[in-house]
Symmetry: C2
Subunit: 104 residues, 2 copies
């Protein structure tokens, strides 16, 4: 868990990183709070990723791992979707796949 | 996508890596095919992760990203759960969190 200030500054820092296509912050209900990309895509990503966060949280809890700090998705089309759920917000970062991460 | 031979050799290689607690291969329906950990936990992990894979695949497709190559989950209790879905199988690796990955 990180503080609200850290959360905001992390968001700004992330948006400036190479390969980052968008940074979205949503409420834990999937309502966008702030975003660096267009509204329509923001709403779609926010809604879909929030539903994925809920499912992931349920699976992680059922596995006895309490909760999760982050989730990274590497897609067929060469995107990384990174998701960090906080107490009342969800941070979503969309970026190009990093070859170093793909090799893990 | 990788071949069946690559899949099996990757599984063995992964199991030998530092911090790796278990490697499980399941059918895409969640039935365990092979595992390096005890049966009871294998069945639980296989069933839960398979349901998460289905949800993730649906979200990734809805986002227009076709499918996903892998999913990494970093849990509160210090575990990494790495999941790679293949055509008919799912590879699941359970390991201790890697501080280098946490810093991403």
């Amino acid at each position: 868990m990180i503080s609200q200030d850290d959360f905001e500054s992390t968001k700004k820092k992330l948006a400036s990183f190479k390969g980052v296509k968008g940074v979205i912050v949503t409420s834990s209900e999937g309502l966008p709070i702030s975003s660096t990309i267009e509204m329509e895509k923001t709403e779609k990503v926010a809604a879909l990723i929030t539903s994925l966060v809920k499912k992931t949280a349920a699976v992680v809890e059922a596995l006895g791992e309490e909760s999760f700090n982050f989730l990274i998705l590497d897609t067929q089309k060469g995107s990384n979707i990174m998701v960090a759920p906080e107490e009342e917000q969800i941070l979503i970062v969309l970026k190009d796949s990093d070859p170093k991460i793909q090799k893990v």
